[in-house]
Amino acid sequence: MSDSTPHWYDDDAGPVVRLYAMTAGRARPSSEAFDLMAVVRAQPREAGEVDETVLSPEQRELLALCSREPRPVAEIASDSGLPLGVVRVLLSDLLTAGQIRVSRPVPPAQLPDARILREVINGLRAL
């Protein structure tokens, strides 16, 4: 998002217009596919294999944010400074383009495995 975007439209509508343009006006993908805690990672690629020029600057930024380590959708949104809805649309494009993998968040029924909770408690104590 560049600040040089012309402001010929109504100020109130401004951000909407820019976000609309950034996502090409598409409907949001279901939040189910991109749950806040769904873990996203960039697909490992051979050097030179990816034609990153087809990606928008925002898509490239999101890809960079999950290429060093996997991150949940919420953290990618927070680090990018883009609103969550926009991030979901861009991630959905990256998924379609085969640039990322998304793992489902662990279902709540399986979530608090006693061993994991122990690790969490010990980790918190050690903070």
């Binding site: 976000l19 969550l84 809805g85 709540p108 994991i116």
Partner: protein
């Protein structure tokens, strides 16, 4: 959703904890004292009734609002992190709670004893959704000190729901709050498993 893969080699686990409570109860302070806090924004288009509409179009929509939430990460180890979400306080953002609550490990409800009733909506919500929660009484200076028991009574809590005292400004205190919550969530889960009842 076929393209969303479940890959066993993806061992990174992200756990979600909500921090709720009334206006000014100390949510931002708590998230900030235990984690590196940063904002998470969502761009919401609200209809008159305050409900979200699910498309990003509509330049005519003047009701688009950026809702900023408190967001923080606590890395437990390389493959395990806790993420804290401070829930937006205003009632008109209730619709966001469902998404936040989905799959949450549990919630901390911050209570200010000077305005105890402010945390009723959060308590009701988590009780109905059967999300494990604890009440953390934020000990503001000058607030009358109440016992855990009297707070539990005033809030009409289930006897199993822990009430802890805290000072959200202090990391050590914030850590204890989170530990109490995780322990409680573990107990709730085990009870549910033992009862063979439905999971969240």
């Amino acid at each position: 959703m076929d393209s969303v893969r479940s890959d066993p080699s993806d061992s990174f686990l992200a756990l979600k904890i909500l921090v709720a409570g009334g206006f000014g109860a100390g949510k931002t302070t708590l998230v900030g004292s235990v984690s590196e806090i940063r904002p998470l924004s969502t761009e919401e288009q609200l209809t008159e009734a305050g409900r979200p509409i699910d498309r990003l179009d509509g330049v005519e929509g003047k009701t688009t609002t950026t809702v900023a939430m408190d967001f923080g990460r606590i890395s437990i180890h390389e493959d395990l992190s806790l993420y804290l979400f401070g829930t937006p306080g205003q009632n008109r953002f209730w619709f966001m709670w469902d998404e936040l609550a989905q799959g949450a490990l549990g919630a901390v409800v911050l209570a200010d004893t000077r305005r105890l009733q402010d945390c009723f909506p959060a308590i009701d919500y988590f009780e109905h959704r059967e999300i494990p929660f604890i009440v953390a009484v934020n000990c503001f200076d000058g607030a009358r000190s109440y016992s855990e028991t009297s707070v539990a009574q005033a809030l009409d809590l289930d006897p199993q729901t822990p009430v802890v005292m805290c000072d959200a400004r202090h990391r050590a205190s914030g850590k204890e709050v989170l530990i109490s919550l995780v322990e409680h969530a573990g107990r709730v889960h085990e009870d549910r498993l033992a009862a063979g009842g439905p999971m969240i």
